[in-house]
């Protein structure tokens, strides 16, 4: 069973993830990739309390996650890989692509879902739920150059918006 979704969402585990995507995809696990959370028992306990009992949650730094991806890509149930920011996903995708070139165990990441990057000083609004700083836009373009389909889509019922439309501010149209 492949990882169904690679998602960038600065709220990490929350309602849209565990219910909005979790129910229709029948998610059995969440892989939360974040160096800070991976180093904090308190943060992990917080997020563990946010998932329903039938859903497993795993915490990894980027390096750990890249090494563990084949295991999750072969998991018996569908799952989701979450990062809280664009750069973490870019690092994970680059590590997965490099590993896929070395061995047959890794499948490269084919698509990335931009689920929520909210307002912060220095960011420009591109969609209702997507605000990006210039370096984040560059990281998203780098993902696209790796052959990864980057689309913005907060919930399954919404239309996936291609990256070019997001960056041109045409996403909410």
């Amino acid at each position: 069973m492949p990882v169904e979704l690679y998602r960038i969402d600065d709220r990490l585990i929350h309602g849209q993830v565990v219910v909005g995507w979790g129910r229709p995809l029948d998610l059995g696990f969440v892989v939360l990739v974040d160096d800070e959370v991976a180093a904090s028992d308190w943060e992990q306990e917080l997020y563990r309390m946010g998932v329903p009992p039938e859903m497993e949650v795993f915490f990894h730094s980027v390096d750990e996650a890249a090494a563990a991806l084949p295991r999750y890509q072969r998991h018996a149930r569908p799952g989701i890989v979450l990062t809280g920011d664009v750069e973490t996903m870019r690092r994970l995708a680059a590590a997965a692509a490099a590993a896929a070139g070395r061995d047959g165990g890794h499948a490269p990441i084919r698509a990335v879902n931009l689920g929520g990057v909210h307002h912060r000083p220095g960011r420009i609004q591109r969609m209702r739920y997507v605000y990006l700083a210039p370096d984040e836009e560059a990281a998203l373009r780098a993902l696209a150059r790796m052959g990864i389909a980057v689309t913005a889509q907060d919930v399954p019922s919404a239309r996936p918006v291609p990256l070019d439309d997001v960056l041109a501010g045409r996403g909410d149209g």
């Binding site: 600065d10 990490l12 309602g15 565990v18 917080l46 309390m49 946010g50 307002h119």
Partner: protein, 176 residues
Amino acid sequence: MTNSGGDAGDPGAVLAPIAIVAGHGDFAAGLISAVAQISGRGERLLAVSNREFGAGELEEVLRAASEAHPIRVLFTDLPGGSCTMAARRLLRARPDLALVTGANLATVLDYVLGAEEAGSGTVAAGVEHAVEHAVEKGRLALAAVFPPTAPAAPATGAPATGAAARPPALEVGGAG
């Protein structure tokens, strides 16, 4: 963040908010509107929506609201929702606050009315008891009611009558 005024109660006596209701979309505003309609004490609650807030912003909104008013309780909708996560983070620094997740109208209404009956601006002394009482009320309010099934067509002989033909409504859960 909004503070819905009451539509009844003591004329002119606007009381301070004692709890925050936070959730997805218009959950909080809608729930507070219902509390105001029933009890006239909507002003006791502050509404917070997670709409278009990142996690850090949401925590800051909750922190600012809880510091500006004698807030003791935060009510949220989904246990794993972003408002709940932000509230849990806030509780780490504010052990004087309580969090109730999965809140419904019966829960919040009971808490607000309990505070009114306590006759003080807050329920500082009995906040834990008031919260537990409100949670129990909310739990009891949750029930599933199914209509009785249509009577089966009589086969042969006498028509079916009574309980065998029309079973009583099935309830799962308790009465509120």
